[in-house]
């Protein structure tokens, strides 16, 4: 083998030069609104268990009878142009809008709503929306396959849908506005080959265009949408797992919207990207939950109150959450009916905490076993979990943090029937599936909900009574009074340690107009209303 050294050197130099020559950055897809997501969704089937990320695609591909207002939690007409409610509060009659079409061109008729709600009530198909719909008459029996029909949903004519409930259920319209109310065409969703998992068909403002796994999902504007065609060509959801990479993409114009700010960069962003940086409230509260099946917290309200007085919420919100969130010792966030704007009953008061600790049988924490605190292994959450730990240590309460990977944490908080969660206290950031106090207080504190949200296993007949009343009451004024009372009761019983109302922050390109964040979550943002400037 003869190798010419000079030629080899030349080849090497050429290779290095090629690597250094600047190349044009590939053409940008400027007509699409580019949105960062961290990973691919599992599927695009609207009946899969509700999930923040999949909701975003589903809200844009599918419409329901009603929807959430832009930027709010009010219920407004969608495929149904109007509805009436019977005096006893159990029967809704919806009149459908004329000319609403699926993406395959067929007109939406009342039978499609019957079909879609029935499809959502099939746990055997892995449907996760059953709990949102099971107040419909006959829904539980239908879901359990005890009965083949669903008497609570009828289509007396192609333009009318009648839904009857077992009993009055105030958040029912909110349930229909969620992904559980997505309207699907049966000719697509009865496909035994399940082609709809990758190519969904709805009647929403954007239709499915392409799914390039690991790269992006593209939805294009549906020109025949009943609201009129969206003002943008489409949506491109780019899968960028790394927060820092996404941030650089935003800075270089590769994204119009980046909904996750890198930790520790907020001060820099406020100073340098003030026009693009936005903060908005979320219907969510972060708190430390108690395990009511375990000693010593069970049955010792003074101890639970002592822990509430020992935590410095302001420091957590101001310093550890970089000033994004608002400290609170209440549970219901400001956007929800029943929210009480008055300060909560617990301020930061270590002296009061020590006093209550002594009254609870543990003077200066003596005799109190070490408390295990379960949290997800997430940098931001660990920051404030350590702050809670040090605040409690300052009054004599020893806490050991057990930080778990998310799957293990989820299993840990759901725990077992016998002993509840795997720890005495655990971190919980609660954003309800429905923007209603029922989706907050009942899910978290009603004794019939131990396996589906009330992981504290909190059980109190007085609280149950108030929460049942609130669910059945249809008058907003009366409901507000009931939920305020319920929240006061839960706080006086020290059912948890509220920490802060969650706010979200992100970066939005200055070329985007008409984008209004929804406090329910980004998935409910009306992307069909936005426009893109030059």
């Amino acid at each position: 083998m003869k190798v010419n050294g000079k030629r080899m050197r030349l080849a090497l130099a050429a290779a290095l030069l090629t690597a250094l020559v600047p190349l044009p950055v590939c053409a940008r897809d400027d007509a699409y609104f580019r949105y960062r997501m961290s990973s691919d969704p599992p599927t695009l089937d609207p009946i899969q268990p509700p999930d923040e990320s999949t909701g975003l695609y589903l809200f844009n591909i599918f419409d329901g009878l009603v929807e959430f207002s832009p930027g709010g939690v009010e219920i407004v007409p969608a495929v149904a142009e109007s509805w009436t409610l019977s005096p006893d509060g159990t029967r809704y009659t919806f009149k459908l809008r004329k000319g609403v079409r699926f993406h395959n061109g067929r007109e939406v008729v009342a039978a499609d709503i019957v079909y879609s709600l029935k499809r959502g009530l099939q746990p055997k198909k892995g449907s996760g929306v059953v709990p949102l719909l099971d107040t419909i008459k006959g829904a539980r029996e239908f879901a359990a396959r005890a009965k083949p029909d669903l008497p609570g949903v009828l289509a007396p004519d192609p333009a009318t849908v009648v839904i009857t409930l077992e009993r009055p259920f105030a958040p029912f319209l909110a349930a229909l506005a969620s992904v559980a109310g997505s309207i699907m065409p049966s000719e697509v969703y009865d496909d035994p080959k399940e082609g709809y998992l990758e190519h969904p068909v709805g009647c929403g403002p954007f239709q499915f265009e392409a799914w390039d796994r690991g790269v992006s999902i593209r939805l294009s504007a549906f020109k025949q949408h009943w609201k009129g065609p969206p003002a943008i060509a489409g949506l491109a959801f780019r899968f960028l797992p790394d927060v820092s990479t996404a941030f650089e993409e935003f800075k270089t114009g590769g994204l119009e919207y980046d909904n996750e700010v890198p930790l520790g960069r907020r001060a820099w962003i406020r100073a340098n990207l003030a026009a693009e940086y936005r903060v908005w409230p979320r219907v969510a509260t972060s708190f430390v939950a108690f395990n009511f099946l375990r000693e010593p917290l069970r049955g010792n309200v003074k101890l639970r109150r002592a822990l509430n007085f020992a935590v410095d919420r302001d420091r957590i919100a101001r310093v550890l959450q970089e000033g994004k969130d608002v400290a609170t010792s209440r549970i219901l966030p400001p956007e929800l009916l029943g929210h009480n704007p008055a300060p909560g009953p617990y301020r930061y008061d270590p002296a009061e905490a020590k006093k209550l600790l002594a009254e609870g049988g543990y003077p200066e924490g003596k005799g109190l076993p070490e408390i295990v605190y379960l949290t997800p292994n997430n940098e931001a959450i660990l920051h404030y979990a350590q702050a809670v730990q040090s605040d409690l240590a300052a009054v004599g309460v020893k806490v050991r943090i057990s930080a778990q990977q998310f799957g293990a944490y989820l299993k840990g908080i759901q725990g077992t029937k016998e002993s509840g969660a795997d720890a005495s206290i655990f971190n919980l950031l609660w954003y309800p599936d429905l923007p209603d106090p029922d989706g907050f207080l009942r899910v978290l504190f009603h004794s019939t909900n131990f396996e589906m949200g009330n992981y504290s296993r909190y059980a109190n007949p007085a609280a149950d009574r108030l929460l049942d009343e609130g669910r059945a009451e249809l008058d907003p004024k009366k409901r507000e009074a009931i939920y305020r009372k319920a929240e006061d009761f839960l706080l006086s019983d020290a059912s948890c340690i509220p920490l802060y109302y969650q706010f979200e922050d992100g970066l939005l390109s200055a070329r985007v107009k008409g984008f209004v964040n929804n406090p329910i979550g980004d998935f409910a943002t009306h992307l069909e209303l936005i426009r893109l400037g030059p």
Binding site: M1, P42, P49
Partner: protein, 315 residues
């Protein structure tokens, strides 16, 4: 002999399959609960556990899975509801482009720099030692971000991330060249540094060997002595190192794939792990093991052809 080596690979594949299955079994996090979300409806949990076979005894689950895998059936993803082979097949193509590009760059740069250092010595050799130390020490995710900040955000020469769209061959899209550059450099940094060091050491050893000194004494030109006598003899350890590193590139590409949003196998396994999508994780690890073993065999064959003293099956 080749057949014997291939048969030897089977126990290794079985061990890898069993280990990954065992790990996935013992790590905390129930796939059904993760699928069902934070409100784990017991009706949904029961239905999916039944469908996925999670309600059956562990030994039965293991044997069923092993039986399917031995027939080439990697199963279906829990969350995506697609065949695992289809998911990994697409991802493997993307990773292969990246790994092959990184292997070429690492080999060219590593061998050239190592050879030059061995030949020149002095300051150049010292600089190479420092450079390779940096290449070995810098974590790939950090190097990736550094390159993005410099070449994408700063100079605006290259795209920040993504696969891009290059030429299509038989319906398979190659990545855009501009998108391939930064991840390639990131992934190639470590193997290039290691190859440079091994090349330098092997070449220095050969340059003082008797047959090279004899060649010099015969008056053969210096460049011919270097390339024809010393370099050829040094190729065996270099080839082994290159082979092992190239094989491992597929597995270690995960950090690079995450930083550059590259839709490869490492990222597919990482995403599946988050969701406890066991069939994808198990299939992915098995695939990487099989590739590693195949590349290893190819390297042994290459070494045997380069050095007649090396014969397969003789240890």
């Amino acid at each position: 002999m080749i057949l014997a080596r291939m048969l030897h690979a089977l126990p290794a594949l079985w061990a890898a399959a069993t280990l990954v299955w065992g790990f996935m079994f013992i790590i905390p996090g129930d796939p059904a609960r993760i699928f069902a979300g934070r409100i784990g409806d017991p009706r949904v949990l029961e239905a999916v556990r039944g469908e996925w076979g999670l309600d059956r005894p562990p030994v039965e689950r293991y044997l069923t899975w092993l039986g399917k895998v031995s027939r080439g059936d990697l199963g279906k993803s829990y969350s995506l509801r697609l065949p695992v082979a289809e998911i990994l097949g697409r991802a493997l193509i993307c990773t292969s482009f990246l790994a092959v590009a990184a292997a070429i760059v690492a080999t060219l740069v590593g061998v050239s720099l190592g050879a030059a250092a061995a030949r020149r010595g002095g300051l150049f050799d010292g600089a190479l030692i420092t450079l390779t130390l940096a290449g070995i020490s810098i974590p790939s995710f950090w190097l990736g971000l550094l390159l993005i900040v410099t070449f994408s955000s700063g100079l605006r020469w290259l795209p920040v991330s993504g696969y891009g769209e290059g030429l299509a061959i038989f319906g398979i899209h190659a990545p855009a060249f501009s998108n391939l550059m930064l991840p390639t450099v990131t992934l190639a940094a470590y193997p290039a540094a290691l190859i440079a060091r091994v090349t330098r050491a092997a070449l220095l050893e050969q340059l003082s060997a008797e047959h090279v000194r004899a060649a010099r004494a015969r008056g053969i030109p210096a460049s011919s002595v270097l390339w024809r006598h010393a370099f050829r003899s040094a190729l065996a350890p270099v080839t082994t190192t290159v082979g092992l590193l190239v094989a491992s590139l597929l597995g270690v590409a995960v950090a690079t794939e995450i930083v550059f949003a590259w839709p490869g196998v490492g990222r597919a396994i990482f995403d599946a792990l988050q969701r406890r999508d066991l069939p994808v994780v198990e299939g992915g690890v098995l695939l990487l093991t099989a590739i590693f073993l195949a590349v290893n065999l190819a390297v042994d064959l290459a070494c045997a052809s380069l050095d007649p003293r090396v014969r397969l099956g003789r240890g």
